[in-house]
């Protein structure tokens, strides 16, 4: 029962959406599939909240038990509520509430959350430079080929590098764009896309048929 009902739900939902591709949207199948898509969007929203509930529970427990670093966990909790509570209050009460431009929610995102997110990823530039210096070695013919290609592409994609290539004979940028990016690279990426898509399609079929059940968890 605990496993059978979910398998039936997955099967019915999956088959309905597959059949929808072969029926006009004005038919019963078409209307049903559209309704299922709306439901999917709504249920998808609730799944995003799962993570928030989880992080709140974990941090709350750490603060209550005064675990190591509990002060920072308290900061996390305060930040969650500082962002969430003004957004949940009706904007009719105050322009500071709700999600509109000028609200606390909007301000905290634009002037604190977004810059921090951008900075987190910006630090990757330092790490990639350090990794390039310390680990990027031409140990074998294959890795040498990878290294040389990477170097040439890095030069091609910046104006100074393009200027350098223009001093050399032949149209190197044209060669790189046509034969490397639109040739070899494109062929490999296409192979990967086809392979990954076949894998996704086969996994989808397994889920619909109830063969794949790992998403249900234990029990």
């Amino acid at each position: 029962m605990k496993t059978t009902v979910p398998i039936i739900v997955a099967f019915v939902a999956g088959v309905a959406l597959v059949l929808a591709f072969f029926f006009d949207q004005r038919t019963l199948i078409g209307s049903l599939s559209q309704e299922l898509r709306i439901w999917l969007s709504i249920v998808g929203g609730f799944t995003l909240l799962l993570g928030v509930v989880s992080i709140t529970r974990v941090n709350f427990a750490a603060v209550r038990q005064r675990k190591e670093g509990w002060f920072y966990k308290l900061i996390t909790l305060i930040s969650i509520f500082a962002m969430a509570i003004p957004a949940l209050l009706p904007s009719s009460w105050s322009p500071l509430f709700g999600r509109q431009s000028g609200s606390i929610y909007d301000w905290l995102f634009l002037y604190m959350d977004a810059p921090m997110m951008a900075t987190m990823f910006a630090t990757l530039a330092f790490y990639i430079a350090s990794a390039a210096y310390r680990a990027f070695r031409a140990r074998s013919p294959e890795s040498t080929l990878l290294l040389v290609t990477a170097t040439v592409i890095m030069l091609w994609r910046v104006p100074m590098g393009e200027w350098l290539f223009e001093q050399l004979p032949g149209d190197i940028p044209f060669f790189l764009n046509t034969y490397i990016m639109n040739g070899i690279n494109m062929a490999v990426q296409r192979g990967i896309i086809i392979g990954a898509a076949l894998g996704a399609a086969s996994m989808s079929l397994r889920i619909i048929l109830g063969i794949e059940r790992t998403y249900m968890g234990k029990g």
Binding site: Q34, R99, A114, M117, M186
Partner: protein, 272 residues
């Protein structure tokens, strides 16, 4: 050299990025065929077409993606296109779309609800992309600020993808794959893509297959588009720093490998 503290490398990178801002350098940006194709397609759209601009990037990649969306908005508004924006990114997508579109719309005197609409965000992009094929209003009953679509004049004539002339997707993740497989393949809507440099090599396959009309890759791609629409933006300004850091990293790779080989030769001599 091999044991050099990595913080010296960090310092070199930092200095390489800062110098071009203190000593500004204007560098010519060559246009790739993929960027040219995208620009030409948009340029050839009939004026007053209805287009979609999709903000599918996180704030973490704002440096690469926002110049693309800004340039695209300018291009669309110059052609008097009516623009529908939306986002499939829960963390910041609708907020960034709102910030970019409102600021630029003001420059052109465009009116919200008539010339542009921000649909905002709805969960589960698979449901959103496939659902809009039948009815946009069933997925987005209201816009980002809660106004019913029936009260927005622009949306009176837009039911689903059939009324959309072009979709420009700016993404830093795999949502572009789903736009192609669900929307372009299923409904035949022409699509262009602006993406981060990390993802750009993959999408050459979609350009070659005709699934994307063109492609902008990374900050260089954004700079190309800015040059094509004749408007200097943040991407073009960043090209100087990009050049210096690339040269630095290439030098570090060469020095690192030289040290590796010389050290290897020395070790073999000591053993032998």
């Amino acid at each position: 050299m091999q044991q050099m503290d990595r913080r010296w490398v960090y310092l070199m990178v930092g200095i390489s990025v800062i110098i071009p801002f203190l000593l500004p350098m204007t560098l010519p940006v060559s246009i790739t065929p993929e960027a040219r194709m995208l620009y030409d397609f948009v340029e050839a759209l009939p004026d007053s077409s209805t287009v979609m601009l999709v903000f599918d990037y996180y704030p973490s990649t704002i440096a690469e993606c926002e110049p693309m969306t800004i340039a695209a908005m300018h291009h669309f508004f110059r052609k008097d296109c009516r623009v529908i924006t939306l986002s499939n990114i829960p963390l910041g997508g609708p907020t960034m779309a709102e910030a970019v579109t409102r600021a630029i719309a003001e420059e052109y005197g465009k009116v919200y609800g008539v010339d542009f609409v921000n649909l905002g965000y709805k969960a589960n992009y698979v449901a959103v992309l496939s659902g809009m094929g039948q009815s946009i209003e069933s997925i987005f009953p209201t816009d980002n600020s809660g106004t019913p679509l029936s009260q927005l004049p622009l949306m009176h004539s837009v039911v689903n993808y059939e009324q959309i002339a072009f979709i420009f997707e700016v993404a830093d993740n795999a949502t572009a794959d789903y736009w192609v497989s669900i929307v372009n393949a299923g409904y035949g809507v022409p699509m262009g893509c602006g993406t981060t440099a990390v993802s750009a090599p993959k999408y050459y396959a979609f350009v070659d297959a005709g699934q994307f009309v063109g492609l902008l890759g990374g900050m260089k791609g954004a700079a190309e588009y800015e040059q094509l629409i004749n408007r200097q933006g943040d991407a073009m300004v960043g090209m100087g720093a990009q050049s210096l850091v690339h040269l630095l990293i290439i030098a570090l790779v060469i020095i690192g490998n030289l040290g590796f080989f010389v050290g290897g030769i020395g070790k073999r001599r000591r053993i032998g």
